[in-house]
Structure formats: C-alpha cells, structure tokens
C-alpha cells in the first residue's frame, strides 16, 4: 500500500512536469502529418536592432516554449491540406508562394483539424485563439527568437553578410526564383531558410512604433491594423532585408490579383504548455 502511494505521488509529480520536458531543447519532432518541427525552449532575447531601421528599436523580449516547422511550408504540404497550389514556380519541395496571410491561416486550421487539434483561427473574424492547441503562424517575437538562435548579431552567423550564401537563397545567388526548402544550411537551432527563399507571414499586425510600447513577455502585436508582418527576406532580397531584425509588411488578403507576389510564404508554430 505504501509503495502504491509513493508510486501515485510520483506519477502526479511527473505528470506536472512531463509536458514541459516532453521535448529536449532543439529536438526534432515529426508530427502525425509527417512534418518535422523543432522544439524551442523559449527565453529572453534582444529583439530588434539598435543599428536598424526606425521600426526595429532594440528591446528585451521573453517568449514561451513552442514547436516551429523546420522548413517553410512546401507546395506538397499545402496541396495536401488545401487541395490547391497557388505557387508560380511549381515544385513539390519548393516553399508554397503567392499565399495571402488569410490563405496561410486557413492552412494552419486545416493542418490542425487533420491532426485532431483545436484550430487557432476564427475565419470569420480572422483572430487567433492563442489558447488553442492547434497550429498557427508565429508571432513576430517568436519568429525573431527562432531566427536569432541565441545570437545578438545582424545575422545568426555574425554581422557581416559574407556567409549568407551558405544559409539563404537570396538575390545574389537565387537566379531569380525560389528553391526547394532545406537546400541551404540550417541555423544553429536546426531551422532552414529562416533567411531568404520566401518571406514568412507572422501572426502580428504591423505597427511601425509597436516596439516602443509592446509587452516584454510574449508580445502578440497590435490589436488591429491594416498590414501583417513578414520576416526573413526572400529569393529576390538584398542581404539587408534578410537580417534577423528586418521587418516587412503586406495586406493580409490581397485586394487584387496583381498583388499576389511570388515571394510570400510561411511556416507554422505549435504551442507547448507546461
């Protein structure tokens, strides 16, 4: 009996901590949809850059633990969940492009439903329920935390752009087109194409002065706005646009087909709760 009590007590203690420790930091997980994600433990980091543009004000931010796609969402995956492929340069392993923010969140919900998870997005109001356990777009802070991989320099490999060609498909060497995901080196946390290939949609609205008054813990962007944040640069970007702190933005739903550029893609995150 005494042994049983100790076993039960141990079980409860274990169960309280097991979720947080289910993953080792930077460990890869393959989801039921056969998509590889990387567990990031969360922490405090310096977001923005004191040498960057006016919207990149440097400040400390803390984010919680989460899983993030190792690669940008591929055309094969998008086709699987959405039954269509809007991309201009077609290849199953290429990142999906010409996707609107609204298309990206539809994909997140479809992927969540396929795995029996609670979808994060209300497709009527286009708001994100952060408490849901499904897939969503990263917040801008999560994206930058993942891209920086513990570094404080302009790029995760240093301040000079010299090594960018090893890690990114960008203007100087992409030959005017996106390329299959994962064909450049990963960042120190195992994430590919954080720079270049396609711009990645974030969940946040863009606010030029948002960093001035954003919360220190888990900032989620302005509550309303006209544009959504994009990060990481793309195959046609200059090295400067690929910096970890560089911010870009676009309207979430194209008002016109002419604005459907072949440079916008995304990757998903999934919350991990203690």
């Amino acid at each position: 009996m005494k042994g049983l009590c100790w076993t039960l007590a141990g079980y409860f203690v274990m169960s309280a901590t097991v979720l947080a420790e289910a993953y080792s930091p930077f460990e890869e997980q393959v989801t039921p949809s056969k998509i590889t994600m990387v567990f990031l433990p969360g922490g405090t980091f310096g977001m923005g850059s004191s040498e960057g543009a006016v919207d990149e004000r440097s400040h400390a931010v803390t984010v919680g633990p989460f899983l993030i796609d190792k690669h940008e969402v591929t055309q094969e995956s998008y086709q699987e969940f959405m039954g269509e492929n809007p991309s201009k340069v077609r290849h199953p392993s290429n990142p999906v492009e010409q996707v609107r923010w609204s298309d990206a969140v539809r994909y997140c919900n479809a992927r969540s439903k396929a795995e029996g998870l609670d979808p994060c997005y209300d497709l009527e109001t286009w708001t994100c329920r952060f408490e849901a356990d499904g897939y969503r777009l990263p917040t801008e802070a999560e994206w930058e935390y993942a891209a920086r991989a513990g570094t404080e320099t302009h790029y995760f490999f240093g301040n000079s752009e010299g090594k960018l060609k090893f890690f990114a498909w960008y203007k100087a060497m992409a030959k005017g087109r996106p390329h299959p995901v994962g064909t450049r080196k990963a960042n120190p946390w195992g994430l590919h194409d954080m720079y270049g290939n396609v711009w990645e949609w974030c969940n946040d609205f863009y606010g030029v002065d948002y960093y001035v008054h954003s919360p220190e813990k888990d900032p989620k962007g302005p509550t309303e706005g006209e544009k959504k944040v994009l990060r990481g640069g793309c195959w046609s970007s200059s090295p400067d646009s690929c910096r970890s702190s560089y911010r870009y933005y676009e309207a979430p739903g194209y008002t016109d087909a002419c604005f459907g550029y072949d440079i916008y893609g995304f990757r998903c995150v999934k919350p991990v709760r203690k």
Binding site: V89, S102, K175, G176, R177, E226, C234, S236, S237, S238, D240, S241, Y248, A251, G253, Y254, T255, D256, A257, C258, F259, Y261, I263
Partner: protein
C-alpha cells in the same frame, strides 16, 4: 622585345581577314533571329494573348509586338486587366470587342505588368508599332499605395524589373546592383542576350544552360529544344467568383498624389512614345472597383481621376473613364469577370466609335 610569331601557334589575321570575320558576325547578328523565328512554330489566333509562362520572355514579347505591328486592327495595351486575369482568352476585353464588331482587336496585355514597366516595354520592344490605333489602359490600382507606386524606400520586389527605368527616374524601392542594372540595359540593345533568356524560359525551366546541366547531368540539353512555344492557357488563372465571395473586405487605400507618382509619370511616358511613333491613342481609365473603396479613400481616388482626365484633355487625347461595373462583376479591386468585360466592351466601343477609332465609325 618583339616576339617572333612565326614560331608560335597563334593566328594573326590580316586586315582583310578581320573584315571577313566582322562581316560574318554582323550577318549572323542580323540573320540568326530571323532564322530562329522561322524554326519555332507560332501561330497567334485572333484571341491570342501572351501565355502566362512567357510573361518574362521578352524575346517572344517583342516578336508578338512586331507581329501585331504588321497586323490590321486596334491594339489593346495594358496590364492583367487587359490580359484577362479571371477569364479565358475568348472572354477578355479585346476578344469581346472583336466579337461585338467583327473587327480585329489584339490583346497586348502582359501579365504582371504595370505602367512603369509598360513604358519600357513600349519603348524597347514595341518599336515596330507605328501608325496604329492603340487602346491604352490605365489602371489606377498602381497608385493605391506608395509601395505599388514604387515610391516607398523599403526594398520591394515588383514585377518586370527588367522593363522599368534602371537609372532615371530613380525608383526608390528598386535596389538592384549597378552591375546588374548595366546588364539589363545591355540586354535591351543586344538580342543574343534576350535570345538566351528566351531559350532558358521555353526549354530550360528558366535556368541558364550551365545551371540546367548541373541539375540534369544525364540529359542532352539539345534534346530539350523542340521548337514549340508555349500556347496561351485556356483556363482562367483564378476561380471566377465575385470579390465579395473571396473574403476581401472594403478597403482603405493610401492613394498617392499624382504629381509625386512614378507610375503616373511613366504612364504619361507610354502615351508620349506611342504618339511620337504616329499611333492614335485612346486611353481607357479603369474601371476600378469603387465598391471596395472605404469612405475615407474615395477622395484620393477622385483626385487621381481628376488629374488623369485633365492631363488627357490638355494633351487632346481621347479617353474614357469607364463607368463602375455592378458589384458582382469584379473578381477583385481592378479585374472584371466575364460579364464585366462584356459590359465594358460595349461602353468602350461606343466611346471609340464617337472618336472614329479602332475601325469604328
């Protein structure tokens, strides 16, 4: 000390031999594009439009403009509104006008184009369009934000960068290197460069030969050249549903001021070039989807229309500001659906008839 070339394997050409080499190269330079054009099968139909896949193949685009310059009929020039983003070739504006009149109207729309690149297209690759009736479309959409007007300073990848002015007027969001800009300018004058880009576009998955061979090491690149050009896609590029069913909301546009607009300035340049070449230009403005305009952005839109029409009147250029189409005739902010094109075609024909243009009146 002078080297003794008689002991060397070097070939020293005489002046006469140099002249032969020069003449041969000049002959090849002049004849090869003509020969190649005969080898590649290409037969435009009355409703032909430049295939989506060939949008950046400026060799082929130039060839089409040359062909159109020799044809009877009115040229309908513009962006994807003319090209027909949401419709198949028989439902485009030019095709509808053709069906209504029985007279030839050629679809010179280029997918992805905008006024800044259209000016370059007309200037560099439309040289043989002279003495024609030209219906030139102006889409106010391109002035709906500083980003799409190309006046924003943040780097922006817009379509057809090779067609826009590389140096003047300066385009703030265009951050191409000086070396590449010079290469782009050179391509406009040197056809072999455009021809190689054409081969890459049609036969080598948009890759240069070296890259293609690296990706296909076991295949013979010559076997890829089938002398068959892409044909226009029959299907519309997007589902033909009204914008109201696509989740697009009423939008507040940050219209730019016409006097500061790059797109407007280069649209004016297009008109100037066409007129300088003896063409009779009729400008079609819109029809922009005013149903999508939020209350606070109607003023900026109307200011653009006022500026555009007053400039056209000052220049004595015939024009039509298209009447707004019914709400459900738009696929998005600027592209009509098939019924929208039908209504637009009737209105444009009526206006052109009044000006005795396009074989009308």
């Amino acid at each position: 000390m002078a080297k003794d070339l008689s002991q060397s394997n070097a070939i020293q050409l005489t002046l006469k031999e140099w002249a032969v080499v020069g003449t041969t190269l000049a002959f090849m330079y002049a004849v090869c594009p003509v020969l190649w054009s005969h080898l590649e099968t290409w037969q435009p139909t009355p409703s032909y439009r430049i295939p989506y896949a060939s949008s950046h193949d400026y060799w082929q685009v130039e060839r089409y403009w040359d062909w159109a310059g020799r044809c009877e009929g009115c040229l309908v020039v513009g962006d994807s509104v003319v090209w027909g983003e949401y419709v198949s070739p028989p439902d485009t504006l030019s095709a509808q006008m053709q069906q209504l009149t029985g007279k030839p109207f050629l679809n010179m729309g280029l997918n992805g184009s905008h006024p800044a690149c259209m000016a370059g297209l007309i200037q560099w690759y439309g040289k043989n369009v002279r003495g024609k009736d030209v219906l030139l479309h102006f889409n106010p959409l391109w002035m709906s934000s500083s980003r799409h007007d190309l006046t924003e300073s943040k780097e922006f990848r817009f379509n057809h960068p090779k067609l826009v002015p590389q140096f003047f007027p300066r385009i703030p969001c265009y951050k191409e290197s000086l070396e590449n800009k010079i290469g782009i300018v050179a391509q406009r004058f040197f056809w072999p460069s455009r021809w190689l880009a054409h081969l890459a576009s049609v036969y080598f998955d948009e890759l240069d030969l070296g890259s293609w061979i690296r990706e296909h090491p076991t295949e013979n690149p010559l076997s890829q050249i089938g002398f068959q050009l892409p044909v226009p896609e029959e299907e519309p590029r997007h589902p033909q549903r009204p914008w109201t069913e696509s989740g697009v909301a009423v939008t507040s546009f940050d219209w730019v001021v016409p006097s500061e607009s790059i797109q407007w300035r280069l649209f004016q340049r297009s008109v100037d070039i066409l007129e300088d070449r003896g063409n009779r230009v009729f400008v079609l403005v819109g029809p922009f989807n005013v149903h999508m305009l939020a209350q606070d952005s109607t003023e900026g839109y109307e200011r653009i229309l006022e500026e555009a029409t007053s400039w056209l009147e000052r220049r004595e250029i015939s024009y039509l500001v298209a009447s707004p189409l019914p709400k459900d005739c738009y696929g998005d902010a600027s592209h009509p659906l098939p019924e929208g094109y039908r209504q637009l075609a009737r209105e444009v024909l009526s206006a052109m008839e009044a000006q005795r243009m396009g074989g009308m009146g």
